[in-house]
């Protein structure tokens, strides 16, 4: 056993659509998160990133989803069968969560101060003056100016960037070991996005927190993260240290990397990935990228799971043809 903080192994998440119909959203997710690691999780829309995040904070049930099989442990606790009490001890205290949309994250009918107090207390009794001092301290960590005033304000009075800083402040209120940031910069403009990323990096440095940063923006992830997990159609297809992204062994990662706008010459033709990602739940057999892959061969679509194979240090990849394509 490694000393990983989070271990996810062949996790499968299903969602209840109707009384009898089930849809598999995440088919096989496998990766570890080391303590203090900044891990990027990347994939197209519908690849199951958000559901994976929710499985880490125990809110899958809200969307009628549940863990069908596989294992998910956090700091030695089995999260698949975690009791409500386990969740109370973990969620918010040991795992912080930064929601997907900065604009919809804060509760619109509560002041920032009241929300931060909740995040600090986590349902426990605490001295009010301590809570207030801690809230001010947190706002300073996330570099919000005039925190005394912000505490009394409502979310609608703050800009998108400030709201997200507040959400980050809430997430780190109890100095968690892990922060799950689900596309934390969606809807923010590029300069604010850069500031938020810098802030996350700084928090990781100061608190030695592991961060799972979810995004569909490969250049961004490549810039800030130590390692990158690539998801495609509900499965993790590759985990690779970010400095090696150019030496990827997976056609999907390569296609994602090549479709980066910043690699294209000015006014050159934009490179896109052929076709559409497969429909959620209606997954093809074998490699799910085969239909869109330039290297696909009939055996890619055979009815067997494609295993993640170790291809380098801290580098795993799920492609049966990687030896042929890239050589050994």
């Amino acid at each position: 056993m490694s000393n990983a903080l989070v271990q996810i192994d062949s996790l499968r998440i299903d969602v209840k659509v109707t009384r009898t119909r089930r849809l598999t959203i995440v088919n096989s997710a496998t990766f570890d998160v080391e303590p203090g690691q900044l891990l990027g999780l990347i994939g197209e829309s519908g690849s199951g990133k958000t559901m994976l995040c929710r499985s880490l904070v125990g809110t899958l049930y809200r969307r009628g989803a549940y863990i069908q099989s596989g294992s998910l442990t956090f700091g030695g606790t089995d999260l698949v069968n975690a009791s409500p009490k386990d969740w109370r001890d973990i969620r918010g205290k040991r795992i912080g969560y930064i929601p997907q949309s900065a604009l919809a994250g804060p509760n619109p009918v509560m002041t920032i101060g009241a929300q931060m107090a909740e995040a600090i207390k986590q349902g426990e009794k605490m001295d009010n003056s301590y809570v207030r001092a801690r809230a001010l301290e947190l706002l300073e960590i996330v570099q919000i100016r005039r925190p005394e005033i912000v505490l009394k304000q409502y979310p609608y009075e703050l800009s998108g960037g400030m709201k997200q800083r507040v959400m980050i402040a809430c997430a780190i209120a109890r100095e968690p070991q892990l922060i799950v940031a689900d596309e934390p910069t969606t809807g923010l403009d590029v300069t604010v996005q850069a500031e938020i990323m810098e802030l996350l990096r700084q928090i990781r440095r100061d608190l030695n927190t592991s961060i799972i940063l979810v995004s569909h923006d490969l250049p961004l992830i490549n810039e800030v993260c130590d390692d990158i997990v690539i998801m495609h159609a509900g499965a993790t297809v590759e985990k690779i240290p970010s400095e090696q992204i150019e030496k990827t062994r997976h056609p999907y990662t390569q296609a994602l990397y090549n479709s980066r706008i910043d690699l294209v010459e000015p006014r050159g033709k934009l490179i896109t990935i052929n076709g559409q990602p497969p429909t959620v739940g209606d997954w093809p057999t074998g490699c799910r990228f085969a239909a869109r892959c330039d290297y696909a061969q009939p055996q890619c679509s055979a009815d067997v799971e494609i295993p993640l194979a170790t291809v380098g240090t801290k580098h795993v990849s799920a492609c049966i043809r990687q030896a042929e394509i890239w050589g050994k």
């Binding site: 904070v57 929601p99 994250g105 509760n107 009918v109 909740e118 609608y156």
Partner: protein, 291 residues
């Protein structure tokens, strides 16, 4: 107010002739018209009327010479009591119904809820009232068919059925709106953060579910209370309650211009006042609301 003033004058019927009876002499009718100021031009009548309002004078009834303001003071409390009680009960019932069905989101419960409320909303209130009278008053004898006694414990006997009918209709409308808001709210991202912050259950339901959903309901309630004024006209007539709605019907039938104008003016003032209070409450609950 201008509309109320014009409409009642445009409606057929001559109050002077009506007051003197069918066999009255033409000269006598003319004399009475002059005495009541009805022979003057419409504009002049309007100006006189407006001047009266600012002096707190709504005029006197053309039918029996009673002061309009006094009549309103005599009949309005009854109407106010049962409208307020209906709205209060409706609020108390709608909040848990709308919230629980919205939050649980059980398909069967939602279908039943929607079906029942749709039927209640689609049925005219006089029909519900007549069916209720048939069942509770005629067959079961739990309530008097009509009439009213104004002494306190006794009057409840006459009031409970109209209040129950009003409440039923209001519950159907209000809980439906609240249900929709709660369903919208529960899909919001911030509900997720509420769960993660480990807030206690009562706190969670209030701050993360109900409070963000309540603003449209509160605005609707103030509006419904105003609409209820109109509905009283029908219910008070059916139950023969001596409230302001029945007074209005009588005044319209008798072409009692000052009385109709006075009551409609008051309805207008109350409607504006209520919607203002509703907006203020909504703002207090949810600062996103623009006044």
């Amino acid at each position: 107010m201008v509309i109320a003033f014009s409409l009642i004058r445009l409606s057929p019927g001559d109050p002077a002739a009506a007051r003197l009876g069918a066999g009255a002499e033409t000269e006598a009718v003319e004399a009475l018209r002059e005495q009541l100021g009805l022979n003057k031009g419409a504009l002049e009548q309007f100006i006189n009327y407006m001047a009266g309002i600012f002096r707190g004078d709504l005029g006197v009834s053309l039918v029996n010479g009673v002061d309009v303001l006094e009549t309103i003071q005599r009949t309005f409390p009854l109407t106010l009591i049962y409208i307020t009680l209906s709205v209060l009960f409706a609020f108390i019932i709608s909040i848990p119904v709308g919230t629980i069905i919205g939050w649980s989101n059980k398909a069967t419960a939602v279908y039943i809820f929607r079906g029942i409320t749709a039927i209640i909303i689609a049925t005219p209130n006089f029909f519900i009232a007549m069916v209720a009278i048939l069942i509770f008053s005629v067959q079961r004898n739990w309530a008097p068919v009509f009439g009213y006694v104004s002494e306190f414990p006794e009057n409840l006997k006459y009031l409970w059925l109209p209040i129950a009918i009003n409440t039923l209709i209001l519950v159907a409308i209000i809980s439906r709106v609240l249900h929709t808001s709660v369903v919208d709210t529960r899909e919001e991202e911030f509900v997720e953060t509420g769960i993660i912050r480990g807030v206690s259950r009562p706190r969670f339901f209030w701050f993360y579910i109900l409070k963000p959903s309540l603003a449209p309901t509160v605005v609707l309630m103030s509006y419904m209370m105003a609409t209820m004024l109109g509905a009283t006209v029908i219910l008070e007539t059916i139950f023969s309650l001596p409230g302001i709605g029945r007074e209005l019907v009588g005044a319209v039938l008798a072409s009692d211009y000052p009385m109709v104008q006075g009551i409609l003016l008051m309805f207008g003032v109350i409607t504006v006042l209520l919607s203002f209070i509703g907006d203020l409450l909504a703002y207090a609950l949810d600062r996103r609301v623009k006044i």
